[in-house]
């Protein structure tokens, strides 16, 4: 497992543990007490570190290269009963945006999300999880398909942003995101949004308007990345830690600001340390919220959704 810089104390213990296991195997000595002790200390150290993560450290966990990405969730949530669908029916199939039908607990859902690549080659293929306009239009097409056949929608968000390229502008990146936000507000089926990694700005919100918005514990959601915020407001790349704190971008901040509905707990040390546990937690949350949403009248549900967003915003008035 790749350890992040702030996990350095764990790395040292891990090294000792590896050595102990090696000795136990090679010398045929009983090291079980030592191994157990070291495992315990790693757990305790991890607990200690993760109890006090700074916002910037959370951002780093959300970007951990071994963190499970969207398609892994789709496969796990549906136990493999997932049919991926492709294309926006206009320009192309955007590999940074994936989606399709899948069954969760015997019920069909439409699952949609940004996809990052798991290795160097795939990262390029997936455009680092940065969708072009056709990605957003593909997502909308799938949402409309779900609505037509009365299937609930789950979106999984993990993007460093919508792609800022020339062709993206030519094909109306702004319009594509705007249209999605607008249309997602009046979908007649339940929409559950889960932020599983990075929730960067309009690129995230472009599939992020829903009846319920849930954030996993080690994710971030804001109007800009801490790095870009630092470069614009501080005119330097060196203030990303301060920017991460100032932006109030963690799940806890977002819940306090009443901009999201729930935090999904991750396994100790982040989703990548025990993906199965992360998938199960997400699945349980989806099922719980879906049960509540399903019980509502579609028009009423839409009204509640719109009113929820209309109420967002803090201002003064004389």
């Amino acid at each position: 497992m790749i350890l992040l810089e702030f996990e350095e104390p764990i790395a040292k213990l891990q090294e000792q543990l590896d050595k102990a296991i090696e000795i136990a195997e090679q010398a045929d000595v009983d090291m079980s007490a030592t191994i157990e002790e070291l495992e315990h200390r790693i757990r305790e150290k991890r607990r200690e570190i993760y109890a006090n993560l700074t916002p910037w450290q959370r951002v780093q966990v959300s970007r951990h290269p071994e963190r499970p990405y969207t398609l892994r969730y789709m496969q796990a949530l549906t136990e493999g009963d997932f049919a991926e669908l492709h294309g926006d029916r206009n320009v192309k199939d955007d590999k940074a945006m994936v989606g399709g039908f899948g069954t969760i607990n015997g019920e069909t859902f439409m699952l949609i999300g940004q996809q990052k690549g798991e290795n160097t080659k795939m990262r390029t293929y997936r455009n680092f999880g940065m969708a072009n306009p056709e990605g957003y239009r593909k997502a909308l097409r799938l949402m409309k398909l779900a609505e037509k056949f009365n299937k609930p929608i789950v979106t999984l968000i993990d993007t460093p942003g919508a792609y800022p390229g020339m062709e993206a502008e030519e094909r109306g990146q702004g319009e594509a995101i705007a249209r999605n936000i607008y249309e997602m507000l009046n979908l007649k089926v339940p929409v559950i949004v889960v932020i599983i990694g990075e929730g960067a700005s309009g690129g995230a919100l472009g599939i992020g308007v829903g009846d319920r918005v849930l954030m996993m514990e080690n994710t971030w959601y804001s109007v800009i990345s801490p790095e870009s915020c630092s470069s614009i407001l501080w005119r330097s790349w060196d203030f990303k830690q301060q920017a991460a704190t100032a932006l109030k971008l963690t799940a806890t901040d977002m819940l306090e600001l009443k901009l999201i509905d729930e935090i999904i707990k991750e396994p100790l040390g982040g989703a990548h340390t025990n993906p199965r546990e992360a998938y199960d937690a997400v699945k349980a949350a989806i099922l719980k919220h879906h049960a509540e949403l399903k019980a509502l009248d579609p028009v009423k549900r839409m009204d509640i959704r719109m009113d929820k967003y209309i109420a967002m915003g803090v201002y003064n008035e004389d």
Partner: protein, 287 residues
């Protein structure tokens, strides 16, 4: 006496250029106006008479909301709506200076409460609610105040069944309100949904510049999308795109004419024709 002690018109007390880049373009206090596009020099008076449009090349200089109201509303008669809303600093945000201070300073400097002014009046006899953005207020950035003012404008439109027009002039969402400003994209879109249900026309008018969160929400959602000539309209800013693609961008990229060619605008309207064209559209919707 040496020449520079004579107090001649060319003498300067400080060496080098001291004007900050951001202040440079807006300065129009002098007697002469130099067009940034064709470099033609005309008197400020003539430039203003021509609605701050260069008579040689047609370059539309950025103008304040007040001036749009003047050239649009019949007899310059209008009523401002939701005038007393201002920012609350919900995140207690501080970058190089506290957001609270930035707001107070900007209010003082601009005489505005935030980046949006809403008014209702008549254009060629047709009622119109106009929500116009103020670029001079923190780059026309959209935070909770802008979102709420659009919401109030839409409510007024709904209640009185009067079309709504939003004039965008914005660098995007306001960073100092972080996710709250991001959610204004959804908030304003929800209100536009309500207008649409009620079949009340919504016109989006894109001015220079219309970028970021503004483009990714109401600016691109008009029943008709209009723009002034040469306005920068896009999602990502040109600098970000240039850094991504690694080369300079072609002339005219992301300008109104380019955006219309790619199918995202209905019309480009010169400033002098705004009132007439709007009047025509409002008539079409009404009759």
């Amino acid at each position: 006496m040496t020449p520079d002690k004579q107090g001649g018109w060319f003498s300067r007390t400080e060496k080098g250029i001291v004007t900050e880049t951001k202040d440079k373009k807006e300065v129009k206090d002098g007697l002469w106006y130099k067009c940034p596009k064709c470099r033609e020099i005309i008197t400020t008076e003539d430039h203003e008479k021509n609605l701050n449009v260069c008579p040689i090349c047609g370059h539309h200089e950025r103008i304040a909301t007040k001036k749009y109201f003047e050239l649009m509303f019949d007899n310059n008669q209008f009523t401002e709506l939701a005038a007393n809303i201002y920012s609350a600093d919900p995140l207690n945000f501080t970058d190089t200076q506290p957001y609270k201070e930035r707001i107070v300073k900007t209010m003082k400097k601009t005489g505005l409460k935030d980046a949006m002014t809403v008014a209702v009046g008549e254009v060629n006899g047709y009622g119109l609610v106009v929500a116009a953005m103020n670029f001079e207020f923190i780059g026309g950035s959209m935070g909770a105040v802008v979102g709420e003012k659009i919401a109030r404008a839409a409510d007024y439109s709904l209640e009185h069944r009067i079309p709504l027009m939003i004039m965008s002039k914005s660098g995007g969402a306001r960073m100092m309100e972080a996710a709250i400003s991001l959610m204004q994209l959804a908030k304003t879109s929800a209100k536009l949904n309500r207008l649409s249900e009620a079949k009340i026309p919504y016109i989006s008018f894109c001015l220079d510049p219309t970028t970021g969160g503004t483009t990714a929400s109401y600016a691109m959602l008009g029943d008709v999308n209009l723009a002034e000539p040469g306005a920068l309209i896009g999602f990502a800013g040109p600098r970000v795109i240039r850094d991504t693609v690694g080369h300079d961008l072609p002339e005219g990229f992301q300008r109104s004419e380019f955006v219309l060619e790619h199918g995202f605008l209905d019309m480009i309207i010169e400033r002098k024709d705004i009132k007439e064209k709007l009047g025509q559209l409002l008539k079409m919707f009404a009759s």
